[in-house]
């Protein structure tokens, strides 16, 4: 290793190798991560809470166990960034909302238990759009996160803090959640790997709910192998989440073969063009080049149209807010979180003031939208209609998967946009999730991996979609493409000074 400063840029499997051979201790790895955070965090703001005391105790324990020659899990000692949507026992969890300020969960989410059990070291909790509602992390109650590749641009959202922590090497692995693209779209904007497993593949016990028929948790990592390693420790049945699927869990790293021989890959027209609007030219070009590369790697590729995907924005923005309006009814100032100091002596008044003062604008907008869509007289026209079109979207996918093993396309129609560019136009913001939303509608596994850079040096993401529980094939296709490129080895260096101001400099 050429000095500690580079340790933070390693992938989990690279670091795990050094930890296993005793070349590097868990404490050294953690120190390297915190050193990068000291340098870069003022510019990026990926974290809303750092947990150095917890992390140092965990790292010390791993080092002691290793010194005793105990057999340790593969990711023991690897520094982890956790989206602030996961309940962490004894550690504040806010979902980046004022309404949960001061909330300290009395229990750990399933994902957190699994990470602790496997010896991962908690660096801190990452920034996100409030209650995961947003595509830019600008809806956080605790400030914006900036894209490490260009600090004037958004990291995507809602898991923007976790994706930025990966791009800026402020942790080794990260966890996000994905309801309409919140893992894949920020992974695309930040040039890292995001995996949303099949709905039900990973337990959501202890994850703060947004839209329960769509929410799924998953890793954001620096490469595909790390994604498979993380899925190995996350996947499995958990009786505490009644939507958790009871299916065998393979070793996902066994699926990582660097060729695509025999794979049938479908390029989804609607991932490249929504209602006649084509994705940006640079994104278009990069994705079409991927198809050529897959052919060289032995895959059969064809274009396929899934026409009902053209309706995914309205379907999603009816279903998700409807579910959210119900899920977020629990924030009433009674059991936890914020309560308005001015309760008016009346309980309805207390609820209303608490919710008005505690929720941000986008959350209120979606609660309003969802309440309206479910209200008497409108239920059939909005909610029922949307759930019927959802069936048609899923049928389109089922039909395509009779012909293809994996579907691909753009993750987002654009590269990372500028801070503030879309904050005044909710509908324009919603459209940045147009390619990722249909995958949640179908409950399918999806990934985003880097597939190029724009002329401005901004990452472009490729989306891959698999059959239900088809994570192995999905990972194989992603790995085959990744290994034929060097995009996953590039790291942003957001601390370099250029022209006298903080800016981002990529390194090939």
């Amino acid at each position: 290793m050429s000095g500690d400063s580079k340790l933070c840029e390693l992938t989990a499997h690279e670091l795990s190798h050094l930890l296993g051979s005793g070349e590097v201790s868990a404490r050294e790895a953690l120190a390297a991560v915190y050193e990068r955070i000291d340098e870069a965090e003022a510019g990026i703001h990926a974290y809303v809470l750092l947990t150095p005391e917890v992390a140092e105790a965990q790292a010390r324990e791993i080092d002691e166990r290793r010194a005793r020659k105990e057999h340790l899990p593969p990711l023991a000692g690897v520094p982890l960034a956790l989206k602030d949507i996961y309940c962490t026992k004894g550690i504040p969890t806010t979902c980046c909302s004022r309404i949960l300020e001061g909330f300290v969960p009395p229990y750990d989410a399933h994902v957190v238990e699994q990470c602790r059990r496997n010896g991962l070291v908690l660096v801190g909790k990452t920034n996100m759009d409030e209650f995961a509602m947003g595509s830019s992390t600008e809806n956080s109650a605790f400030g914006v996160t900036r894209n490490p590749w260009d600090l004037e641009r958004v990291p995507g959202g809602s898991s923007g803090g976790s994706a930025a922590a990966m791009a800026g090497s402020e942790a080794i692995v990260a966890m996000g959640t994905d309801t309409g693209g919140s893992i894949r779209q920020p992974a695309s904007f930040c040039g890292v790997v995001g995996l949303k497993p099949t709905y039900g593949r990973v337990s959501r016990y202890g994850v703060i709910a947004f839209a329960s028929s769509l929410d799924q948790v998953g890793p954001i990592t620096k490469d595909v192998r790390d994604s498979a390693l993380m899925l190995n420790l996350l996947a499995g049945h958990d009786p505490r989440d009644s939507t958790s699927i009871d299916a065998p869990t393979p070793d996902y790293t066994a699926a990582l073969i660097p060729d695509a021989k025999g794979l049938r890959i479908g390029l989804v027209t609607e991932f490249m063009e929504y209602q006649g609007r084509r994705v940006d030219a640079e994104v278009d070009e990069a994705v079409l080049a991927v198809i050529e590369r897959f052919r060289q790697l032995g895959a059969e590729c064809e274009e396929v149209s899934l026409p009902h995907l053209n309706y995914s924005i309205p379907v999603y923005y009816i279903i998700a807010p409807a579910e959210a309006s119900s899920n977020l009814a629990r924030y009433d100032g009674v059991q936890y979180g914020y309560r308005s100091p001015d309760d008016g002596g009346d309980i309805i008044d207390m609820y209303s003031r608490t919710r008005d003062e505690g929720f941000g604008a986008e959350v209120k907008r979606r609660i309003m939208l969802g309440t309206y869509a479910l209200s008497a007289g409108y239920y059939d026209a909005y909610y029922l209609k949307a759930t019927q079109v959802r069936t048609l979207i899923r049928r389109d996918f089922d039909r395509a998967f009779e012909q293809f093993d994996v579907l691909v396309g753009a993750t987002s129609p654009t590269v990372a946009f500028r801070l503030g560019e879309k904050t005044d136009d909710p509908l324009a913001m919603y459209l940045s999730d147009v390619c990722t939303i249909p995958v949640n509608m179908g409950g399918l596994p999806g990934m985003s991996i880097p597939c190029g850079f724009s002329a401005d040096g901004l990452p472009i993401g490729l989306q891959l979609v698999g059959k239900p529980l088809g994570e192995e094939t999905l990972l194989r296709a992603a790995y085959a493409f990744e290994q034929s490129t060097d995009y996953h080895r590039r790291r942003a260096h957001p601390i370099a000074e250029r022209n006298g101001r903080r800016t981002a400099v990529g390194r090939a």
Binding site: S213, M350, M368, T387, P426
Partner: protein, 95 residues
């Protein structure tokens, strides 16, 4: 315009949100523009199409009815904005 400011106020009441005049005006404009975008769904023929409320066809997932450890009253109350005598405390509900 589909939604009037009065309807927005009614929806806010249902959602237990207290909107300022400025918020009410802004939401009326924004919600109308979003709802207008949703109109296109009405073009799709969904007759005979079953609604899909969930991605995984599972229902009535039950567990064995066995006693198990749960949060203590102290743990359950530790985050409450107001509590007294092992209960959550709220403004008067019944006169």
């Amino acid at each position: 315009m589909r939604l009037t400011p009065e309807e927005v106020e009614h929806v806010a009441l249902l959602a237990r949100l207290r909107l300022t005049d400025e918020e009410r005006a802004r939401f009326t404009t924004q919600l109308n523009s979003i709802l207008e975008h949703f109109e296109q769904l009405q073009q799709i023929d969904t007759s005979g199409v079953p609604p899909m409320s969930h991605a995984v066809p599972m229902s009535n997932v039950l567990r064995a009815d066995e006693p198990a450890a749960s949060l203590s009253p102290q743990e359950a109350l530790q985050n409450a904005p107001g509590h007294a005598r092992d209960c959550f405390q709220v403004p008067r509900v019944i006169e």
